[in-house]
Symmetry: C2
Subunit: 346 residues, 2 copies
DNA sequence: ATTAGCACTCAAAACTAACGAGTGCTAACA
DNA sequence: TGTTAGCACTCGTTAGTTTTGAGTGCTAAT
């Protein structure tokens, strides 16, 4: 396919930027005034005609201005991302905005809220992927009624509780022993590494009241493993009402629904999971978004880390004409902040 | 004020029910067909004219049918609530719909979701009011880096974690001692009862490494007490799109926003907190709702219990023409289910 | 007390006209 | 050859007009 000469590109960018601000199709006369080089509307029209033929822009109807196509945005975004050589964003220290919180989930939710009010788009954020983080320690406590409280603490000070029923109460020495056993064998492992193998080895190790131990171990292993469904938090959903192109017909309803249901968003998180490196930014434009009700949106995601290994994603959800530049910068800044916070938390 | 004779009341009810179904102003001819007694539209018109004068119904404009006023709904609802002699709703056991969960909050959120899809309205639910529940036990665990994990377990198997920083690590004997101290003194108390008095008594009791103890005690007390902001969960927000009268203009946006922000909903929860008894149902109609953006809505709340004392609220949020009958019944059924669940959990 | 009859009202729907932003094309121009 | 002025044309938007019909209030008859 023919490359775009510089002038065409400039015009395309002008269209994108104008449409971004106004949300209205932009015409030749507007661009003529907008560009630095002096060109008559007629000339612009010719160029636009070419751009349309090449598939970068379209007319919603005859006698309207042009708006960018997905392909147009794609070009724009790719250029931007490749030219982006870490512009050393001033990283304004907004960390004071984040109230000191003890649970990672709350911190992430605050992050989402902050991002939403910063960008005026909707945001999503997944909890950390628990499975790949290492266990720090496990703490069993008796609750009476044959129930045990299992507190699991993992790297990054992730804390999870589970209550398990084992049918009978255990003596406090028993609990002490179990705690020791669990921590000796499991701490330092990731959840992925807690295989049946490890469990049965532990069972063997403590031969005495084997039956009871087995029950407890199974329950503990089960309840640790079940943690795999990563929670997804969203914020700023009402921001979509700022963009008429997202609220026509039942669109608003559908969008808000998917944001509330959250499950469909998992598709976005999982998509491109393999190729994501530290702080990698991914941009989904229109039809590229793997969620049916979000085909009119663009989504920009970034991967955050917390200690070792891939951990979670943050996503910004807005109209296709979102301010990609600003969103990407904001996201990168946020990533660095999260790094700092997790560092001192860790 | 003059009482309503039976015929007027019947007509009012007919209007309410018709408007509930259609969302359109209802006219004399419709009611004439709807009523069991045979009356001509003209007669109905006369009665409606009276009803309007009395303030129970209004015309949105001349030459339109009538719609109920807040006052009209109020009458209807009050009658319904007073005539309600616990109709022994069949209490269909839907408890199998509730997946076994270990954290109360998750159970409540599931409840909210279930209610929303049952009723087609939006729902809200507050977490249990932690302050008035009794502590079962407290468990401190060392996390390294001068941090302690505090796990607080209260009645009803409510579990809360806090991570506190005390600047220095503590020996495991120290931890053991502290755990003993805390549990001996605090378990059985409610959070309200953990006064400075109790704390200083504890400080006195353990005179040895008093300094460190003080730090820990303060941190623990602080982090327990800070739990007071009750979380509010919502579900089914997109349901409001089913009711045009809630989505005109920016209304949809505002409503969705308040539902996402959640703080304003606290007003509803707190309003009438004093007069709420076990399973008490409260109905807010239109202007009675203490939230600005919800003046076009009605809210029905119920109080659920979990062990002793008032505990939390569930609310159904819908248009003023909601099906109060069904909502109240559903809510009562839900309350009994929660009772059962908490009973076996407790 | 009820009702048939009828004139009246007014929002919503359907139709029409005017407008104007924007285009594509052609012809003139540097 | 690339640029531009000029102009006819398109078509969505807006404003104004008419029609329709659901519903009322009033009056007079039952």
């Amino acid at each position: 396919m023919a490359e775009l000469d510089e002038r065409k590109e400039k015009i395309l960018y002008a269209i994108i930027q104008n449409y971004q601000e106004t949300g209205e199709p932009v015409g030749s006369r507007t661009i003529s005034k907008y560009l630095d080089v002096k060109l008559s509307p007629a000339t612009i029209r010719n160029e636009m005609s070419d751009l349309e033929e090449m598939g970068y822009i379209v007319q919603p109807h005859t006698s309207a201005g042009r708006i960018p196509t997905d392909k147009g945005y794609r070009l724009y975004v790719d250029r931007m991302l490749s030219e982006r050589n870490l512009p050393a964003v001033p990283t304004a220290d907004t960390s004071f905005l984040i109230k000191r919180v003890d649970r990672v989930e709350e911190l992430l939710m605050q992050m989402a809220r902050l991002l939403a009010s910063d960008t005026h788009y909707a945001t999503m954020i997944t909890g950390p992927r628990y499975k790949r983080t290492k266990l720090k320690f496990i703490q069993l406590s008796p609750m009476g009624d044959g129930k045990l409280l299992v507190v699991v603490v993992a790297e990054g000070n992730l804390v999870k509780n589970h209550i398990i029923s084992i049918g009978e109460d255990i003596s406090s020495e028993g609990i002490l022993q179990l705690n020791l056993l669990l921590n000796n064998n499991l701490s330092g492992l990731t959840i992925d590494e807690i295989t049946l193998d490890v469990i049965s080895r532990m069972k063997a190790e403590d031969g005495e009241h084997a039956e009871l131990i087995n029950k407890v171990l199974d329950a503990v292993a089960e309840s640790i493993r079940k943690e795999e469904k990563v929670p997804i938090y969203t914020s700023g959903a009402p921001n979509i009402f700022k963009y008429p192109e997202l609220t026509g017909g039942d669109k608003a309803s559908e969008l808000i629904s998917t944001l509330e249901e959250k499950e469909p968003l998992g598709l976005i998180v999982r998509s491109g999971e393999e190729e994501a490196g530290r702080h990698d930014i991914q941009v989904f434009i229109g039809d590229e978004v793997p969620v049916e009700s979000m085909k009119d949106c663009s989504v920009v995601t970034a991967t955050y880390e917390l200690g070792n290994g891939v951990q979670g994603k943050i996503g910004i959800i807005g109209p296709k004409r979102m301010d990609y530049q600003k969103v990407v910068e904001t996201l990168q800044r946020t990533m660095s902040q999260l790094d700092v916070i997790f560092q001192e938390e860790g």
